[in-house]
Symmetry: D2
Subunit: 279 residues, 4 copies
Amino acid sequence: MCRWLAYTGTPVLLDQLLYKPAHSLIDQSLHSRLGVETTNGDGFGIGWYTQEPEVHTPAIVRDVGPAWNNRTLREIAEHVRSPLCFAHIRASTGTAVQQTNCHPFRHGHWMWMHNGSITGFHGLRRELCMAVDPVLYLAMEGTTDSEAMFFLALTFGLEEDPPGAVARMVGFVEQVGRKHGIEAPMQMTVAVTDGSAVWAFRYASAGVARSLFYSTRVESLRALHPDLEYLQELSDDTRLIVSEPLGDLPGAWNEVPEHCYGVVQGGQGEMHSFTPLAV
Amino acid sequence: MCRWLAYTGTPVLLDQLLYKPAHSLIDQSLHSRLGVETTNGDGFGIGWYTQEPEVHTPAIVRDVGPAWNNRTLREIAEHVRSPLCFAHIRASTGTAVQQTNCHPFRHGHWMWMHNGSITGFHGLRRELCMAVDPVLYLAMEGTTDSEAMFFLALTFGLEEDPPGAVARMVGFVEQVGRKHGIEAPMQMTVAVTDGSAVWAFRYASAGVARSLFYSTRVESLRALHPDLEYLQELSDDTRLIVSEPLGDLPGAWNEVPEHCYGVVQGGQGEMHSFTPLAV
Amino acid sequence: MCRWLAYTGTPVLLDQLLYKPAHSLIDQSLHSRLGVETTNGDGFGIGWYTQEPEVHTPAIVRDVGPAWNNRTLREIAEHVRSPLCFAHIRASTGTAVQQTNCHPFRHGHWMWMHNGSITGFHGLRRELCMAVDPVLYLAMEGTTDSEAMFFLALTFGLEEDPPGAVARMVGFVEQVGRKHGIEAPMQMTVAVTDGSAVWAFRYASAGVARSLFYSTRVESLRALHPDLEYLQELSDDTRLIVSEPLGDLPGAWNEVPEHCYGVVQGGQGEMHSFTPLAV
Amino acid sequence: MCRWLAYTGTPVLLDQLLYKPAHSLIDQSLHSRLGVETTNGDGFGIGWYTQEPEVHTPAIVRDVGPAWNNRTLREIAEHVRSPLCFAHIRASTGTAVQQTNCHPFRHGHWMWMHNGSITGFHGLRRELCMAVDPVLYLAMEGTTDSEAMFFLALTFGLEEDPPGAVARMVGFVEQVGRKHGIEAPMQMTVAVTDGSAVWAFRYASAGVARSLFYSTRVESLRALHPDLEYLQELSDDTRLIVSEPLGDLPGAWNEVPEHCYGVVQGGQGEMHSFTPLAV
């Protein structure tokens, strides 16, 4: 059911994030430990912001097929440096395997990724899509619940108030779900960014939400592991938010509690509780 | 802007239709003469009915990329025999190049192909899609005007009365278009089949409609060209309907007049005038 | 390290072989139990002989990407009937993931599949390829050990004496390997067919060879399981040869011993020991 | 038969080269004017050097399918800046359409592109590939004449003396060709770079060689067109070498004479005559 990674911090070559770690996202595409499926081979995508002052949008490169054997992904990762990057590997929950159904999704300078699903989405899709703002609707290209959630959040004011918009989106999905006899439709971790801050949400209408972790502040990690050289090289404002830890270094990964969201900006991070809002 | 071919008659190996003719559909993917573009390399698709009594649906194989270098297409064509086949090569009019945006589209045992476009479709898409029957909507997978037209026709009774349903679909599109300031939205040739009969439509709200031809009855062709052996091998009920002629044999191809539709079944063919119906 | 399936018997719709069984090849692409990898998502291919008297070659349809989400494969399987079929799912052992590196390979009316590898193939490739007959060499399109093995077998007389040719091919690979310090280069199960008979080989220069099973004769299975209706429908000459069993029916699957090959033709099957021959 | 573009100069966003010009390479993929085919839709590739001091290799991103509808290419072009870039669009002259047959080819920090063909390559391929250094042979992944030419040039000392190595490569191909009754096998424009200098060759064994142009020095262009603002923005050491001009600005493009090669480095350019050398 997908795995994702969000990075913000000093600009790094993307392969530091995607390939080098012991249990990298690429490794997770073949051997995920905490996901619903061990294999996430129904597509992948990366999105990155540049260091070009005049380029305001992130690049997104998405494709069907597994991440583990994709050469384009490796070439980009080894040659592109970015201060803020999203990466996602897909295990389809039913919708077509096509480029427009891969994450991250982009709208303007915003990016969005999702792990999870809307239970019974097939029967809710039309009503959810109809609730998307008519102008925004035109930008929808795929058929996933993930993209619909993004465009509902945009409809509910994502660009002004991301946590509130996501809360209203979830509240709306739960409303529509219950109307159709689906008591607990939402299962999600979501990452969204405007290129400056990153918000990450962990929520399920019922039961355990998909796994979500954030990295310990680098200063603290250095104190924990003074012998590890590479920690010296990491910048203080390095933050990773991931579906599952990229490695086993003790103290490096912290679980995001259920029904919470975090926001990272300029090296600072905050955690808040998350509650759906009625719409 | 696409080219297509529909065949009905004695079961033939598909390469007889797709590759062998002098100006075959494959040739048209690279060198179309009558289309808006000479190149139609944004995807292709074939659909064929089998001779298996228990298999009621047609197979559809669609892919992005040009038809002219696709090995799968050639392999299938050289090894599959069918009595009724649709084939289409795509030049995108704006929507994503993906498998779910390639023709033919299928619903149950029906297939649909389209050449042309709905002018200003981008601004009409939401309203048109929202008019699709809510249950049928769930089967829509892409973002093309062509697929929307198909599902509107299904909504308006395609399975009971194809010509009437297509007339209502066109009428509805023209209504919605005019509401949005688009006076003459429809440009189309359409082929639709239930595996037994084939209906082909040629219509434009204004101006010249996309080209459409049908093959002369084989008996007549034999009389015209008594020396041509291969005409002896063709069955009497062989009929081809095409965007542009597959070759130059005098007398073999007849233009479908504007604002008309033809229907072929069991070797018999009829032509009728076509007028959009208000919905 | 790949999984494959070979079928010979009464013509069946290919999905009976590829999708319907409990642990079908499609299931094995995601959850292989006996292979080196659980996931075989680096490409797939099917080859089938038609029932067309004038078509002498098998069709082969191969593609990169996983089998489990490939629509073309499913469409073909649900609509094509064949008396003899090869199917293969790939986990690359190092060479590029491209269509020309997928199995089955075809030459004339022969097909070839392989599970396993030549240890140190990278360093042996040039010498092995240079030993291929100069005219045959021109037909080689990829870079796999599997394809090289096929073309070496063709060079050593596959079309006249398949078991002898494969024995000479293995003998030659072992010779060249030893020359380069690789004592035990060959690891293989191989299936090869001319459209009439199917030969299947199981051999490793050292250690345990990749798994290989053949189906029990249908008459015997019916005696074992008189209650199972579907066995009544299976023709007496149905034979499957597989990397791993397609299901758990007791008595249905028999392991091919190490250093053996089997040949199935016209419903008859024979097992023989297999020894590499010096060249 | 392919079109290509080489750029060296101030780092630019790649879309300035690939998409923005009036008759850009992307435009040439659909409407080439000077090539053998108007359509070059059998694959594409870009290669670019970064501005990362520790990254010594160029990135190469290649794919089958047309350049004109490829989103990954557009995304990269709009978000990646490079001081030296190769781009190529392919029209296959017979070999498989696959990623490993697309240009540019890379070896270490060298890149290579080719427009043209070796006449009768199919019959010469084995002998030419056998002449490649045994260690270099292992890096060959495709089946094109273009790749073989590159690896022969590497064998003949490309890394030490590019013009000499290419001259020996051409001499060798002509020798082998004549031995097989092909009097005039070579048809080529070639671009090769080590990330610092760019060499471009134009040669045909007989008849007219494929078209090749280089851009006028920017200072001279500014003098010719003092009113054009964008010329003010171009750096003095900007140089483009192209199969066909990217636009119609008078005085901007100069044909490379037949049997010549040019080399550009650090803004300086030189032209020399080119003669094959016997090997």
